[in-house]
Symmetry: C5
Subunit: 351 residues, 5 copies
């Protein structure tokens, strides 16, 4: 629930301000240039060397991965070099943005959220993608592994990704980010099953907190996945995307819809957990009260009887207590009452 957008109130729009909470470190840029024949990877290119490195590979498709983005000056500098709109730079740095896509004259700007889920904590990393004719920029706020799996796929010469345009690379990145949500949903699915067991069989005071956390996680997921659907849909219909790639975007669109379906299903389940929890509590309460009531109903009248025969009236002593039979009758009554009551309770199905 942490965002620092308020710090930006009053600043001119387009002012580059990093709103994340990572330490300021200089971005390390990985430049991958490839065509169907060759591929070269330059790691840790500095902002200063960037332009030069890019110029040298001009005819190939070039993927520039920038991470981290906590150093707002350097990022702004890259933006200026590649003539990105100041509002785009602002959006790249403003890491609590919702996913979106914007088409400019000579590039498409796509803002996505990658996610990780560890120890019941959901974390989003903003990934901003800028697609130009020959370049693809990816600015990431903490994806850690810098899309290593994709890089490996790129290294396999002859693969479809090597034979295709930068639009396919964009698709591959989007597909990779979105498929990452399936892993998360599986983990959450496991948690939901555990929680369901807990709530049905042994609900504790903490269960309600778990349900609450689960609901919040799902809400966060939904909030970020929902606009991605819109993003992919826009790209799918965009004139900028070659029709031959549209079927791939349709595929990733299907995946987003699938994720949304699963999230909605989970939300329904989580919502019904509370109902189960409350009825389990009610059930227990009934159980407890029944026990108490049975004990009380049996022993309170008996207690009255013993009290009665413990009274010190002289007249009573003479009339009642001295007769041996009365003691026996009293004892019998005290045995009969609980038996009668237990039968009564049995009939009324109290236990």
């Amino acid at each position: 629930m942490i965002f620092k957008l308020s710090e930006k109130v009053g600043l001119a729009p387009g002012t580059p301000v990093y709103t994340g909470n990572r330490k300021v470190r200089e971005p390390k840029i990985r430049v991958i240039s490839y065509d169907d024949k060759e591929l070269s990877i330059a790691d840790d290119v500095t902002t200063e060397d960037l332009m030069e490195t890019v110029e040298s590979v001009k005819k190939q498709i070039t993927w520039l991965h920038v991470e981290p983005i906590s150093d707002q000056e350097k990022i702004a500098q890259i933006g200026t070099q590649f003539e990105l709109h100041s509002l785009v730079i602002e959006d790249i740095l403003s890491v609590s943005h919702r996913p979106k896509v914007e088409e400019f004259d000579d590039y498409i700007f796509v803002l996505m959220k990658a996610a990780t889920y560890k120890r019941s904590t959901l974390r989003f990393s903003q990934v901003s993608l800028v697609l130009q004719e020959k370049y693809l920029f990816s600015f990431a706020d903490g994806t850690d592994d810098r899309f290593e799996i994709l890089v490996k796929r790129l290294q396999k010469s002859g693969s479809r990704i090597r034979r295709s345009d930068s639009e396919y690379l964009l698709f591959a990145l989007l597909d990779f980010i979105i498929d990452g949500y399936f892993k998360i949903l599986e983990d959450i699915g496991d948690e939901i099953e555990d929680l369901e067991n807990e709530i049905l069989n042994n609900p504790t005071k903490e269960s309600i907190e778990h349900v609450h956390n689960l609901k919040r996680t799902l809400m966060e997921l939904k909030k970020n996945v929902w606009p991605m659907r819109e993003v992919i849909n826009t790209l799918m219909r965009s004139e900028e995307i070659d029709p031959k790639y549209q079927i791939f975007y349709r595929d990733v669109y299907d995946h987003v819809i699938n994720i949304m379906d699963i999230i909605e299903g989970y939300r329904d389940t989580a919502a019904s957990f509370l109902d189960i929890y409350l009825s389990t509590l009610s059930n227990r309460m009934n159980e407890i009260m029944k026990t108490l009531s049975i004990i009380s109903t049996i022993f309170i009248p008996l207690g009255f009887m013993t009290g009665y025969f413990g009274m010190n009236f002289t007249a009573m002593s003479d009339a009642v207590l001295k007769t041996n039979d009365n003691y026996m009758y009293a004892n019998l009554t005290m045995i009969a009452i609980p038996i009668a009551l237990l039968i009564y309770f049995k009939i009324r199905k109290w236990f």
Copy 2:
């Protein structure tokens, strides 16, 4: 809640991976070729012989039913032979996909879910249909009876299905799959009536679990039926479907809407079960507490009285206990108090 989509993260799109949980077995293919005059059935055709078998019946309408689909290599091989897009193959094998329809240049790809409901467990089998000019492919992940009823209808020469095109065969398959849901809804309807009786008359701790399971089943149903509506709607309006068959697609569309209506009705009912359950619990609690309160309110004051006359004060012994009348008055009071209280409770309608 089991799906293995996460295994596919990072794989190139179009990689054929079977995501179901059935044992890998070689697909057995049934090839049915027919026109209004002749019909020939070839069972258990192997992938290797498939192309040859199909070539030999070129002028007739050919239905190729492939089952099981757990052997991803073989399925991919069939796909390649018949020039299906690699994403289509992927979708056929990815058995937790949501229903959808996609139109390609020379074929229509329809992905459906058949369902069975046994011992309160809902199971979906993915059925993928590929409609070409003369062929209809059906890939099924476990429908067991391989549409035997439809085959029988096909065998009746002169039936409409024999006189019509492959588009009518597609319709017949869709109609058969969707009508299967009516059987399921009837079974669920019976369960709902039982559950309603249980909850209204004798709710137990397990009832809430039954309601929860019912709700989940309905949610699963809805999740899978909802997109089918879209599928049928798209087909109904598709230019690929001959107008003379559109009224049939409209008919099956009506059935889907009908199924959705029934599901929504069931969901409403299931939702109100919880309310009934909770109020029944509350009612019982009131009942128990009333009994306890009546017993307590009657006997606790009486208990005090007996205690009072059991005190050992010497002064009391002289002044109170020795008088015979007092004993009688005490007895009378002890009879009067419960009677008075019972009348009071009666007036306040406690029982």
Copy 3:
């Protein structure tokens, strides 16, 4: 909740199967032919004589009312005679269908639901209408009175219905069916008022069941009225309906909207009944517990006192019990404690 659609699984579409639960009886057909000058009624025309009867009145508007429709062979026969599509026949016989309208080349097929409400039980009868240039067919599954009121209006020569086309007759039938819902809503409205009184003043264990039944009735109503709106709307905009009759269809459309409004209002009220019920139960529980608590809080300490002075310690006997004043003080304390507690409870507004 009873439907037999599952029996039809696997049958060829268009197979005429009666899915209702009325006994199979031969349909009796009433043929009413009229123009602004003449009117002739032929009752109980058999299927065999039907064609002939109709031929003889060719230039007039002819209303053919068929009831009951439980004899599927005869109905199919009528359908064939008048060249209705096999799917239309199927729909006429499939009496749990949702309302719909379908336009064919030379007729319009309208499927409606008439309703009756007796002893808190809602019953729907499917009425299927087929409008041709000069004919109007009405197939009814149990409307009992065979639209007698409409027949009477027809008999009045010079009335608008006599002067108008078959499209106006269709409207009159729709109007009559839909107006029937107002009667039902009035009855339900009365029941709601009774139920409201019951729940606010004297809720019983059965109340929740009444609310549940009410909710289900309203759900059923909604489910059937909702698509009627669509039906009327389609007719209203249909090119087949002469513009001069559109204002009448708009009028009946208004009525449907009105009915839907009332149903929604009722549903809201019914939904809030449960809340009232639960809070009344909670209130009662509080009432009961307060009584119990007051009694317990007063008498339990008193009980302890009497117990204390009933102990048999020798030392106590000497030091405490023999003094006359102590007895008085004990008595006074036993009077003071309840008074003090009652004042305390009064201040805390417990009663």
Copy 4:
């Protein structure tokens, strides 16, 4: 919840039937004719004189206010004189109609609901407006003051209303009717604040009934205001309304939206009242049970002790009761137990 629409079942559409519950009285018609120079008011014109009166002022704008409308014959007669469609007459008399607008060839028919709110009771009066080139008819079912304020504004010569067309007069009437809802919302707002205080501080058994009534009132309001939005919107975009007046209709449209916003806000608040009520009840219950539990937990063990020392075992008498120290120890224990328990309760924050 009272409507008599069922009485009309089976009647030919267009039959004029008054469905309100006011006594049948002859309508008194006020005819106001004006242009920017002159204004004449004729009160209590009878149906018979109406045509003549209107003819005499032909070149001016004429406002005819008809009230009451309980005499269905007279109203039908007026309708016939001015050539209104029979369905319009029916709608004017059918006073539980929802607001709507209908455009005819030479007039616009607008049906609105004016409302009053007194002693927590909401009452609607149907106001039907018929706008012709030069006339404006207003039929009111009980607005009592016959728009006196508007009449006064009309009497001020030179005012915009005097300088404008009948379309502005229609707007002025609509504006007046809709602004009347603000007064009602203010009154309801005051009630909501009172109710909020009551529920937060001192909820009684009646509170839930008040909430229920409030919710119903708001539902009634919503049901009638919602379609008015549609009415004004239609008029705003109507070609019949001179563009120069559209900004005024846009203004009144804003007011309707504003009213709907407030109603929705109130509904939200009313919905949350129930939650507050139930939790206050739960809180009180906890309070009561805590008191009872503390008393019981303290005194029940003490009671056991006194009972123990009140036993009549001879052995006990010798071994335990005769020793003076034991009495002291018993007394000390009886003091220690409650203190220990109170400390324990304090630690567990029971009070």
Copy 5:
């Protein structure tokens, strides 16, 4: 919940009436004229001098900030001078209006809500903006600091705002107003976290009131932010706004969407607080009842035993009480019973 719109019932539309609750004070007008080279600020210009001041700077962009607006005559006078429509003047003064935009022939009228949040109280100030070719009017009902930050940005020569048209100034104002909501959302977010802690760990009677207030605050926010989205959207697509500025409006539109997302998230969280609260109460109740039940179940049977042996039967005295062993057995039983019960409770997991 205070508004005075009812005072205006019956007034002619366009009558200028201030509906706020601030004291009537003469407006002080700040006139800022600028182009990329020069900037002049005239503070506290009176209504009388306004026209003259404005005339003198005709070729520059002029921003006229009017505040307060409680003096309805003066505001009406300004409106007349600058030829604003009387309904616009009315809207400016009617400070409980919902945000909206209206396009007139030669100006655009934008009505916005600025907000402040102090001590859990949300306050809105209406800001009305009128954009003409060269002028921008801003009428504010209590923003206190008169957009000082924006003024400072204006004073920086060479800044984008100085180089741009009045449309950019309008955007800057809108952006500033909307960014102000982020600050508010951060404050509310902090409160939500506190409240969450309170409810999960130590819910009190007041918690439910806090939740209620939070929900109302969020509802108020939503009610005012929702239409702003529409306002910005309209402006974004307006032909009056130069395309080169549209990206800036798209940016502010993103912000509004972001704010709405956060509000919806908060509303979800607030809604679930009630559930947590109620289950915590239920949990506590269970806790209390368990303690009471354990105490009662242990001591009530023991109490019966002591009572039994305290009876004064002569026969008993002889048969039972005189034997020393019996005393020992009784003691042992009294120790055994609680131990047995505690083990039983432990097994049933009561504590």
